[in-house]
């Protein structure tokens, strides 16, 4: 089996593992929870304003991390937003250049340059966040704080990002120099730096496939590790930010427990 054939087998496998992980570790649990306690929770009283506020606080600004300090908050914001925007641009790139190819998004055209800018900018934001996280992992290695670090997740994602930048730089370095690729920021800068060693035939393929496999494996990893918080935390916090639902759940239980014995029999 060639490396490329293996790649096409492994990608859907990894995506499948992600969905199995999400089903087993999140959706099945949610179904059990709301199946058991749904009677206490009046979904009709969902407060839209509180929902909006929770979305801004938990997802957009991630305020609950702020009390831990500026650096942890900045690190989480960089990683979270870098990853989300990068993923979005990855999907857009696949759609506009592979599955629904259109002229403005072909190499060298404005749409393509825009995609490259988005990919590189978000990738750089993610890279900075991951380097801060790695720095923290190193500096707190022998302290009590170390248990709060997700070093395997950080290293895994860092490998995805670094192989991505290297693969892109090798790809650009294999082509004639073009100043318009300056929109590709770090990818372009790296390409110009390593241009002397071009062409990178086989090593480019290795890095590209390694990047694609690592990225897919990381998606699978999301459903089976602490990284599941990417899905679980915003979802749970949006519900938790509904005071009426919370109070209704607790109040129903308390009323039942506080009912005098005579009334119950």
């Amino acid at each position: 089996m060639t490396l490329m054939a293996l790649f096409w087998v492994l990608i859907p496998l990894f995506v499948g593992v992600l969905f199995i992980g999400l089903y087993r570790n999140l959706f099945a649990k949610l179904a059990a929870i709301f199946g058991a306690s749904g009677r206490f929770i009046p979904f009709g009283s969902v407060n839209a304003a509180a929902l909006g506020q929770a979305y801004v606080d938990e997802v957009v600004l991630q305020r609950r991390i702020r009390p831990r300090g500026r650096l942890p908050w900045a690190r989480h914001m960089l990683i979270s937003w870098g990853f989300s925007v990068l993923f979005t641009f990855d999907v857009l790139t696949a759609v506009f250049t592979k599955y629904l190819p259109s002229e403005p998004f072909m190499p060298g055209h404005p749409g393509w340059l825009f995609l490259k800018l988005g990919l590189n900018l978000s990738g750089m934001v993610l890279l900075v966040g991951l380097l801060i996280a790695l720095g923290r992992a190193v500096t707190t290695a022998s302290t009590e704080e170390a248990k709060f670090n997700d070093t395997p997740g950080t290293v895994f994602l860092l490998l995805v990002v670094v192989t991505g930048f290297i693969a892109e730089a090798m790809h650009f370095a294999n082509l004639p120099s073009d100043p318009r690729r300056g929109w590709a920021l770090l990818g372009h800068w790296l390409a110009e730096t390593i241009r002397g060693g071009a062409p990178y035939g086989a090593s480019y393929s290795v890095f590209w496939i390694a990047h694609a496999l690592l990225a897919s494996a990381f998606l699978a990893y999301l459903g089976w590790s602490r990284m599941i918080h990417v899905f679980a935390a915003p979802l749970g916090r949006l519900f938790y930010a509904q005071p009426a639902l919370r109070e209704a759940k607790v109040r129903g239980v308390m009323e039942e427990l506080l009912r005098p014995r005579v009334e119950r029999s």
Binding site: N25, L26, K29, L30, A32, I33, F34, A36, S37, R64, I65, P67, R68, K147, F148, S225, R226, I228, H229, A232, A233, L235, G236, R237, F239, Y240, R246, K249, V250, R251, V253, M254, E255, L257, L258, R259, P260, R261
Partner: protein, 171 residues
């Protein structure tokens, strides 16, 4: 050692919240209360009755919070059945709160779940902080086997349900 648990006597509770304060002070939980007191007003004037229930984690035998946690941050200590949360692993998703039949888990200012640890940092021989300060002895802690005769004597019973909470209630 057997399963640790609680006995709570609703008829003795005067709603003074001393247990809430003692718990927060001993455990240093600041503004997060692991043992809040719920008050229900029943009846109509002039026949009004206030009933209070001080509600910590009930360290359920089949803790639903533990089953709901997507990252296995909640565990049950084999030696005494106390349900504990690993703060480092917790991702603050609140699924435990929704899974808990009593809505016990609390989310702290840092977004992590926290709840009663059965005062696991208390020196041996001392009662739980809440039990120690209760002026009417409405709270009693200990092994379920020890609590059962006291509950029977006071006319109480073990709270039922699939989670099998470690609580005897006198009402």
């Amino acid at each position: 050692m057997g399963q640790k648990g609680w006995l709570f006597d609703i008829n003795r509770c005067i709603g003074c919240h001393a247990c809430t304060v003692a718990c927060a002070t001993w455990n240093g939980t600041d503004s997060v209360f692991w043992r809040p007191v719920a008050t229900i007003e029943r009846g109509t004037y002039p026949n009004v009755v206030l009933r209070n229930l001080s509600m910590p984690c009930l360290h359920c035998a089949d803790a639903p919070c533990m089953q709901a946690c997507p990252v296995k941050a909640i565990s049950k200590r084999a030696s005494d059945g106390v349900v504990l949360v690993d703060q480092a692993t917790c991702i603050g998703c609140t699924l435990c709160f929704w899974a808990c039949p009593f809505g016990v888990p609390k989310i702290g200012p840092e977004g992590k779940m926290s709840k009663c640890t059965y005062c696991d940092n208390r020196p041996d021989g001392l009662p739980r902080a809440c039990e120690e300060v209760c002026p009417t002895k409405a709270i009693v802690s200990g092994d379920l086997e020890t609590l059962e005769p006291i509950a029977r004597q006071r006319g109480g019973e073990r709270v039922g349900g699939p989670a099998r909470p470690a609580l005897f209630l006198v009402r």
